[in-house]
């Protein structure tokens, strides 16, 4: 990274950190949502973007993080931080226990297997008394949006620094090698099973932390909303829109799409979903490799970048 790029990122970080001082309440709330979505997109980026395993199970980590905080605070009357640790622990155990069998599957099969996990978790948690069954849990309210905002921003920063570290470490190179060619990676000495499970767990840790913050902020959760599969679809769309397998792409994707979605639902309330769908379809057709690739190549190619994509993908 060049000096001006680091400067730009730092400036953006300072501007974001200052929002609670100069932004409206609405903006802060929008910010919390967008930041948490960005964390989820970054979490997915580790397993989906860098390792090449399109996980639909990350909403399970999110749900486990939410329930970790809720159970610790409501049932055991422990502080929020302990709940976060408990949620992370649940996510890691889940990632290891399920990752070992599920990560043996490749491509579509992996996606389908993880897709089922969220359904299973909803059913299980609905029957666990400790988790409030299908009624859910109500957390003690904490009316401090700036705090939640800064927490979310801090988490996003840590997630992004982790990914940046990945791109220049042996572990990260191993993950990329697995994505690019798993058999080629294994004969070069990459312990693919271990690396995939570690990537899954790391991805789960960030998703769980985001879930924990969200649960405490919203103060209510039930199985259907905690293990919502559409949340997983959202994080994939955002990561892919921004540029999977890049350090900043998923953040840009999450912010852009959160803003677009917010704008549409305030301007064209009832058919916002339709317009959002159109945005996604157009994005996939014109820039299938995400914003990161768009910025990189459009400087060289100009507008022909779009026609080139349409031709290359035979659309």
């Amino acid at each position: 990274m060049k000096a001006w790029q680091i400067g730009l990122v730092l400036a953006a970080l300072v501007a974001l950190a200052g929002v609670p001082w100069y932004g409206s309440d609405v903006l802060i709330q929008f910010g919390i949502n967008a930041l948490l979505m960005a964390v989820l997109a970054q979490g997915w980026n580790i397993i989906g973007g860098y390792t090449g395993y399109a996980s639909f199970g990350n909403s399970v980590f999110y749900g486990l993080g939410s329930y970790g905080v809720a159970i610790a605070m409501v049932q055991w009357h422990l502080p929020f931080a302990v709940g976060m640790v408990f949620g992370v622990l649940l996510a890691v155990v889940f990632a290891v226990l399920l990752g070992i069998p599920v990560l043996r599957l490749k491509g579509h099969y992996f996606a389908i297997a993880t897709l089922a996990l969220a359904q299973v978790m909803t059913a299980i948690v609905s029957n666990v008394g400790l988790a409030g069954q299908n009624i859910g849990l109500v957390l003690p309210p904490l009316n401090n949006d700036p705090l939640f905002y800064e927490l979310s921003l801090g988490l996003l920063t840590v997630a992004t620094l982790t990914i940046w570290g990945l791109t220049r470490s042996r572990f990260g190179f191993g993950l990329i090698a697995i994505r690019e060619n798993e058999e080629g990676a294994v004969v070069m000495g990459v312990n693919t099973t271990l690396y995939k499970v570690l990537a899954f767990a790391l991805s789960g840790i960030f998703s769980a932390l985001a879930g924990g913050i969200h649960a405490y902020w919203i103060t209510f959760l039930d199985p259907a909303s905690a293990f919502d599969i559409s949340l997983n679809v959202k994080m994939i769309i955002m990561a892919v829109f921004g540029g999977p397998g890049t350090v900043l792409g998923p953040i840009v994707g999450a912010f852009t799409l959160s803003a677009v979605s917010e704008f549409l639902s305030s301007e064209v309330t009832r058919i916002a979903g339709l317009f959002f769908g159109v945005v996604i379809v157009v994005a996939v057709v014109l820039m299938p490799r995400g914003l990161a690739d768009l910025f990189r190549r459009m400087r060289k190619m100009g507008w022909s970048y779009f026609s080139e994509n349409i031709r290359a993908h035979r659309l």
Binding site: R168, S169, R170, F173, G174, I176, A177, E180, N181, E183, G184, A185, V186, V187, M188, G189, V190, N191, T192, G245
Partner: protein, 244 residues
């Protein structure tokens, strides 16, 4: 001297098909052993059995006198067994340099944990195979001959003791073949033992110290190149029975 690699009665079934049938051979330190045979003879399967990407149905494989049957593929790589693939497996969106750096980061003895050092080693390997000028290109931008060299560089960066080369010359022209032969000889001069699968008979004859011939999964000949290529059984396997 203990052979670097010893294959004893290696057998592999795929359902009813016997791809490799009771094959035994040894590879001495610093030796170049050519492996030839008609299409479907089981050459690639044999290499996969050694590198561990396929499991043996029966038999045993020894590396420096120790059985490696129970070791997973990545462990065998870390032990010092490197391989190239006939259908090349580069990491397409990574740069040529980083492709090779993966070999240095993992590879023998678990590899080199520092990325900067690994990249430096990768650069040397790329110089060695003659790709020193295009290290910043993306791997999927390379043409056929350069991809073959890249496969070699990736395996070399692992600092292997045994190199298994699966058709590194296929699809190359005469000049390119001679260049690859030179590289393989240079690799041997580093003290690495090499098992090389090849279809270009002229090339393998000049390159190999010894030749091994597979036919329908069975070993039908093993000896010096001249003796093996004059063997009537080998000629029959390649050209069919002479009509009386």
């Amino acid at each position: 001297m203990t052979p670097v690699l010893e294959v004893r009665n290696a057998t592999r079934h795929f359902a009813g098909l016997v791809a490799v049938d009771d094959v035994s051979f040894t590879l001495a330190p610093g030796e170049i052993l050519g492996l030839i045979g008609p299409n479907g003879a089981g050459k690639t399967t044999l290499i996969s059995l050694i590198s561990g990407t396929h499991d043996l149905s029966a038999g045993e494989i020894f590396f420096q006198g120790e059985s490696i049957n129970h070791l997973l593929a990545f462990r065998r790589a870390r032990l010092g067994i490197g391989r190239t693939f006939q259908i090349m497996r580069p990491f397409p969106v990574m740069s040529v340099l980083d492709n090779v750096a993966v070999g240095a980061l993992f590879g023998r003895g678990g590899g080199q944990p520092k990325l900067a050092v690994a990249r430096e080693q990768a650069r040397e390997c790329l110089e060695f195979v003659g790709l020193g000028k295009i290290i910043d290109k993306r791997a999927d931008e390379l043409g056929g001959p350069d991809r073959k060299r890249l496969e070699l560089a990736k395996a070399l960066a692992m600092q292997p003791q045994v190199l298994l080369c699966d058709e590194v010359m296929a699809g190359l022209n005469h000049v390119e073949i001679d260049e690859v032969i030179d590289v393989i000889r240079k690799v041997r001069d580093l003290g690495i033992s090499i098992l090389v699968i090849e279809h270009v008979i002229k090339a393998i004859k000049s390159l190999s110290d010894r030749l091994l011939v597979l036919h329908h999964g069975e070993k039908i000949a093993d000896g010096t190149p001249d003796a093996v290529l004059a063997d009537p059984i080998v000629i029959e396997a390649y050209l069919g029975k002479k009509r009386a």
